[in-house]
């Protein structure tokens, strides 16, 4: 228990100064750090051929983001198909099928890292580093860039960047400047520090091929043990800090080579939430609205602690299948002895609150209620959330709460002095409602055709496996109930659709909303206007999030985990 409390405290204490630093990076980016990084960045701009001082409209920003992503996905897709013919492949691994390569490329492009393959056996070092690690650095940076653009436009101090030009077009910033700063000043330095710490604990660091050992007990039927290694530490570090989640080894950070000790587990757990939480503080420092940042953080921490507590309680209960056949004890099926039930439940909850998706134990084998928490976390997906996109999603709920709150106190809906009208609310609703539509729609189709599901567990849990997979895809999470036989054309293609829509609509729609609001004439925030930086408004936002999630997903929770829990009790 102390372990959990200390991890919460350390994470939030580190997130504060990091948030201040990140705000500095995007507010001018000068100072001591600027002296080091600005020359690197201007070198990169020259290589790209861009002028970072050139402002972009929201459409220009969105197009720049989409074009870069499209080029990246083509490069990575090709790399995955052709890896068998290329270099840096000491273990002689072959190329992927088209559908698996498509799913993998889109999955990493969308910061999801849902894996329908096992990395140690199905990816070469070339694909792992140049392909996967590239996207694990660039995609959280893209999320951060989009967040900064939206915050700057929606809530920013009135500077020249967010003023409408003469023809009414609003600049939201320069995409290449934002993403380059996020890569160079945030993602790479933080990842490098984490990589060296976990390397000290035993995570491999080598471009050489697998090691071979002669096992001690030759009567046990294993004459040789081949141990895959590789440049694992840099990947595992960026996987954790970048809300990515896709590990080197199939079972992710449950594997002792990927997460060797309780110390590496501590560092990797903190890394799950560190940058997403820092961005909330950064929001306060960037806009000068520190009270708003504290309200947002308050709501997130309340959601996080209450859901995580349930998961920890559940996993400390015995697994029903062990009853009478073993000593009393927590549920350890799918868990590692060095971590135990509580640290695994904490990770399971945090990894789904942050859209990370890495695991240090098997969620499929969690007790039914313990396995329900990650699903709820992903339905909400704004308890911290993925880097950038989590806070963007939270701002959508904030807009919805402001809309409803204004109506409740009998005023024309507004936020930060700007009127919320039909166009904005339509975009907010599209961004929010596409989630239940896609998850429930695809789940219904898949469950209706049992040949498609690839279930490994029978009954209610089989339904949970399907819902979990689509929820994870749309939430850009990437964890799974991994017993599911998900490397089929059906799963690969339908998940790829969910991945892409779940990434780009929740980025582009809010960008459009922010630009649309910024173009409006601003009414001064006075005594009569709705204050969004009070605990009352925080409670209102929390209520909106809870109601929205319950109304959308309560029925499937009853069909899946709740029915399974009740069946096991009887």
């Amino acid at each position: 228990m102390n372990e959990v409390i200390i991890i919460y405290a350390v994470t939030l204490l580190l997130a504060w100064p990091l948030g201040k630093y990140i705000a500095g990076v995007f507010n001018g980016g000068k100072g001591t750090a600027g002296a080091v990084f600005l020359p690197v960045e201007s070198g990169l701009y020259r290589l790209f051929g861009v002028d970072p001082s050139q402002p972009m409209s929201w459409q220009g920003y969105g197009k720049a983001l989409l074009k870069l992503h499209l080029v990246l996905v083509l490069i990575i897709f090709g790399l995955l198909m052709a890896q068998g013919l290329l270099f840096l492949n000491p273990d002689g691994i072959g190329g992927m099928s088209w559908d698996l390569a498509l799913h993998t490329a889109v999955s990493f492009l969308t910061n999801t890292n849902q894996q329908h393959y096992s990395g140690q056996a199905q990816l070469s070092y070339l694909a792992h580093t140049f392909g996967i690690v590239t996207l694990q650095v660039v995609t959280p940076a893209a999320g951060m860039a989009a967040l900064v653009a939206i915050v700057r436009t929606l809530l920013g101090r009135s500077d020249k960047k967010s003023q409408p030009s003469s023809d009414g077009t609003v600049s939201v910033g320069n995409f290449y400047e934002d993403i380059t700063r996020a890569v160079v000043r945030v993602m790479l330095p933080v990842a490098a520090v984490v990589a060296l710490i976990i390397a000290s604990q035993g995570v491999p660091n080598s471009y050489e091929g697998a090691r071979t050992a002669i096992p001690l007990d030759q009567t046990a039927g294993m004459t040789e043990q081949n141990i895959p290694i590789g440049p694992v530490a840099p990947m595992v570090a960026i996987k954790q800090v970048g809300t990515n989640g896709g590990g080197w080894y199939g079972p992710n950070s449950s594997v002792p080579l990927e997460n060797p000790t309780p110390v590496s587990n501590f560092v990797q757990t903190v890394s799950l939430v560190l940058i997403p939480a820092a961005l909330v503080f950064a929001l306060g420092f960037m806009t000068g609205r520190r009270r708003l940042a504290m309200v947002v953080m308050g709501v997130m921490v309340v959601m996080s602690v209450s859901l995580t507590s349930v998961a920890i309680w559940s996993e400390n209960q015995p697994n029903a299948a062990f009853s009478g056949l073993a000593a009393e004890g927590p549920n350890l099926e799918g868990k590692e002895v060095r971590f135990g039930a509580s640290a695994t439940a904490l990770w399971g909850s945090w990894t789904t609150q942050t859209s990370n998706g890495s695991v240090n134990g098997m969620h499929d084998s969690f007790n039914p209620i313990g396995g329900m928490i990650p699903m709820i976390d992903m339905f909400i997906n704004v308890t911290f959330g993925g880097i950038g996109v989590g806070l963007i999603g939270f701002l959508l709920f904030l807009l919805l709460a402001a809309f409803l709150g204004s109506l409740m106190i009998g005023r024309a809906p507004e936020i930060a002095g700007k009127a919320l009208e039909t166009r904005e609310m339509k975009l907010v609703c599209i961004a929010l409602l596409i989630q239940p539509l896609l998850i429930l729609g695809f789940s219904a189709i898949t469950v209706a055709f049992p040949a498609l599901t690839g279930n490994s567990n029978p009954g209610f849990h089989g339904i949970s496996q399907v819902i979990y997979e689509y929820t994870s895809a749309f939430a850009n999470n990437g964890s799974g109930f991994e017993g599911l036989g998900d490397d089929s054309v059906w799963w690969n293609v339908t998940c790829a659709v969910n991945l892409a829509l779940g990434r780009f609509i929740p980025i582009l729609a809010p960008l459009a909303v922010a630009a649309s609001l910024a173009a409006k004439r601003s009414a001064p925030e006075g005594r009569g206007s709705l204050s969004i930086d009070t605990p009352t408004f925080g409670l209102m936002t929390l209520a909106v999030i809870v109601m929205f999630t319950l109304l959308s997903f309560m029925p499937v929770l009853i069909l899946g985990p709740i029915a399974e829990a009740l069946a096991l009790m009887s």
Binding site: E3, L47, F48, G49, M56, S57, Q59, G60, K63, A64, K67, V71, S118, T129, V137, T169, F175, V183, L196, A199, S200, N205, S206, R211, T212, A213, P215, L216, D217, M222, Q225, N226, P228, P231, A233, P234, S254, V255, L257, P260, N265, A320, A321, F322, G324, L325, L332, E333, G334, E336, V337, F339, S365, P368, S456, N457, P458, F460, E482, G483
Partner: protein, 200 residues
């Protein structure tokens, strides 16, 4: 998306820019970053960098971080593995608590462990019956080692007290008393039983 947008900055968003930026990012993030970290890691932590291998008389007998299968009576046995301790096919059972196959696997294992160690089923520690997440968990709980002590001592014809002493010596506690669980590395304690690991 009209061309007349004064700040649309179409030049910055050209396809050529996207291609150049993508290539530079691949080289920087996928090439330089892992190369620098891997090089630094290899220099600073050479033993860990190559898989924390244990070398006895010039032969790699395993990795500290990777469990091995044990069936002989003179060794401590590890946890059930859904991967048969093959690190290339790592994985958990992924059985749900409600899956009847899990129940029958545990019933079978519980029965054979109870017979082998001469204990009642309800005194077998959970971790000795539960498959790990990785399938190569190198550890068992100290309780799971103690359950096996008598059988190991008998097979080796040494006093149980000596085996229990070894268990106590090889039990690692939580780091700083806070992080992680008490545990015994199965390969290392078995190497110690064979006299292949020096005591410190």
């Amino acid at each position: 998306m009209t061309e007349s947008n004064s700040v649309a900055a179409n030049r910055s968003a050209s396809w050529l820019t996207a291609v150049r930026a993508a290539i530079v990012f691949v080289l920087l993030c996928g090439g330089l970053y892992p190369l620098l970290v891997t090089t630094a890691g290899k220099v600073m932590f050479p033993h860990q960098a190559f898989g924390s291998m244990i070398i006895v008389d010039d032969i790699a007998v395993g990795s500290e971080l990777v469990g091995q299968p044990f069936t002989a009576p003179e060794y401590f046995h590890g946890r059930p593995s859904a991967a048969n301790y093959d690190p290339f096919s790592v994985g958990g059972s992924n059985y749900a608590a409600s899956n009847p196959d899990l129940r029958s696997r545990i019933a079978e294992d519980s029965d054979s462990i109870a017979q082998r160690e001469g204990v009642a089923p309800d005194s077998i520690p959970v971790d000795l019956l539960a498959a790990s997440g990785s399938g190569i968990d190198p550890h068992i709980s100290p309780e799971s080692a103690i359950v096996q002590a008598e059988r190991v001592a008998k097979a080796r014809d040494i006093p149980v007290s000596r085996v229990n002493e070894l268990i106590a010596r090889y039990t690692e506690g939580p780091t700083l008393g806070i992080f992680g669980q008490r545990r015994v590395n199965v390969l290392r304690i078995n190497l110690a039983l064979d006299g292949k690991e020096s005591f410190d």
